[in-house]
Assembly symmetry: C2
Homo-oligomer: 320 residues x 2
């Protein structure tokens, strides 16, 4: 089973409007709400692909109740730790072509709430072979917190996929996650390097690994993705980029990486996901196909399994 | 007592952001929520000025609970009719200078819910001398609905201030509200005339009255306001416009008009607010001073009584 951790889940609100013009007011034609945050997008992709998954994290207030109800309605297993603050909302206004987004920061989490969550996370870890840590940290949560969760996962023999940015990413690397999945901008910021082409990305990913056992899989939008691992470096991509909505493509990549690690872990000695190096070229085919299917889907956290089936043969993986 | 009717109240959400750029995403630095909708802005201005006021209307869902809690926290008397749908939210993203707003349409109201509300409104009317009908109609409410509420108020001998636009305004005029308060754009749309200067505005206001007993007070932003009534026509304004936030200035004008009608009604035979023609020049001084104080206040629905006191002597009223 895969455990996903969403420390700052969101009630994602999408407004259908005519063209957004800064400084003016807009009548909203329709309102859609979804359970969001990177970790929950990963969760929904895994569920859509039939991979056993449990969502945990911190949740609170009316928005939190709404998020839990939306997950339950989608048949997604969740066990969140309640907090006193109210979970955030995101608002995206879209005319169908262009999207203008507003990200609330999220509730302040107390030290007591964090410690209670860590206890709950340990309980969840005992049931999981792979854990996905994804998204931003809400206010009050220390930058070292992902490092703490990674250390506990390693003690439990559980493989870790990490998708975050900034100080939380830099602090987490020292704890030795199995895979980190930055996008181009996050990779550039974390390594203080300009990342434009594939060669830049491989160099920056290698620098981020810094000789460790952690694999870096960087998503590059239309350029596909690059992987830098202890066993080699690859560039994986489609022959041509797909049109669609890139929001959530990175989350589908994290889901594919976690699902691949889960398959690897069940084939190993049973000591959990950290046993055995993944078969990278195959894993990258999955990651590109799942991401591309997410681009083709109408919203983040959705993929069509048939579309993934069609896309797999088109993915090219080149060793670098 | 003044009764305010808000058929489409809103949970007004203000996001503090850096400059809004269409098509990009924005980190929200802080989130503020307020009870909003034109009728509730009028209510809060009246309460701030010590005028007895009761708020009614239609409310529902988590957003509705939140609106009621915010009103209660401000010590505002409210008696809303619950509905099954969820009250809308508005989102305004501001960098302190420019504001970009998104207006949700509001919940669909059933015929049964409307009929139940009309019964509740009649009960409230028995306690009121003046009623303020302000704002948009939510989906499902017929354009003639304000006309229905105005007719019931007239039967009860209660004066009516109406602030709405479009078909709801045009249909309501035939029912004979005491005062209607369009802004420049609403006046222009309702009369199909271009309204740029004060002379245009007086002509359009006169045309909107169409010889009826209804007074038209049109707010013109920096140009102050014009009134067209059965007893004369006036232009009221400050010597120079004030800097500030114009959102809610029209609502403060409606509040001043209602408060003026209430004073007039208590001096009359006791048959309610529709007895006796208001003293227009004095009423317009109040309306301009309250509106200008709203411009000087940080948010819609707020006025500082001391500021109004300072502003009154500066207001010029010219008969046309």
């Amino acid at each position: 089973m895969i455990l996903t951790v969403t420390l700052n889940p969101a009630l994602d609100t999408t407004y259908a409007v005519d063209t957004v013009i800064a400084g003016s007011t807009h009548r909203v034609r329709s309102v859609e709400v979804r359970a969001g945050g990177k970790g929950l997008n990963v969760t929904r992709v895994l569920a859509a692909m039939g991979v056993p998954v449990l969502a945990t994290g911190l949740i609170g207030g009316d928005n939190g109740d709404r998020i839990e109800a939306l997950l339950a309605a989608d048949g997604i297993a969740a066990s969140f730790q309640p907090i006193a603050g109210e979970s955030r909302r995101t608002v995206v206004a879209t005319d169908g072509a262009e999207a203008t987004g507003f990200w609330e920061p999220g509730p302040r989490v107390s030290a007591t709430e964090w410690n209670t969550f860590v206890g709950h996370y340990r309980w969840c870890l005992n049931r999981a072979s792979i854990v996905v840590l994804a998204g931003s940290l809400p206010p009050g949560i220390a930058d070292r917190s992902y490092a703490e969760l990674i250390s506990l996962a390693r003690e439990a023999g559980t493989g870790v996929v990490l998708d975050t940015e900034g100080p939380a990413l830099r602090r987490a690397l020292f704890a030795g996650p199995t895979v980190v999945k930055p996008n181009r901008a996050e990779l550039s910021a974390a390594t203080a390097r300009s990342v434009t082409g594939v060669a830049d990305a491989v160099g920056a990913a290698r620098s981020l690994r810094d000789g460790s056992a952690t694999a870096v899989v960087a998503t590059l939008g239309a350029d596909g993705m690059v992987a830098s691992t202890a066993n080699g470096h690859w560039h994986a991509h489609l022959p041509a980029p797909l049109p669609g909505n890139p929001t959530g493509a990175g989350d589908a990549c994290s889901a594919a990486l976690a699902a691949g690690l889960l398959r690897g872990s069940s084939g190993s000695s049973g000591s959990g996901g950290s046993g055995g190096e993944p078969k990278w070229p195959e894993l990258l085919v999955e990651a590109v196909a799942w991401s591309a299917a997410a681009v083709a889907a109408p919203a983040a956290g959705m993929v069509d399994p048939d579309r993934i089936q069609e896309l797999r043969p088109a993915v090219a993986v080149e060793e670098i």
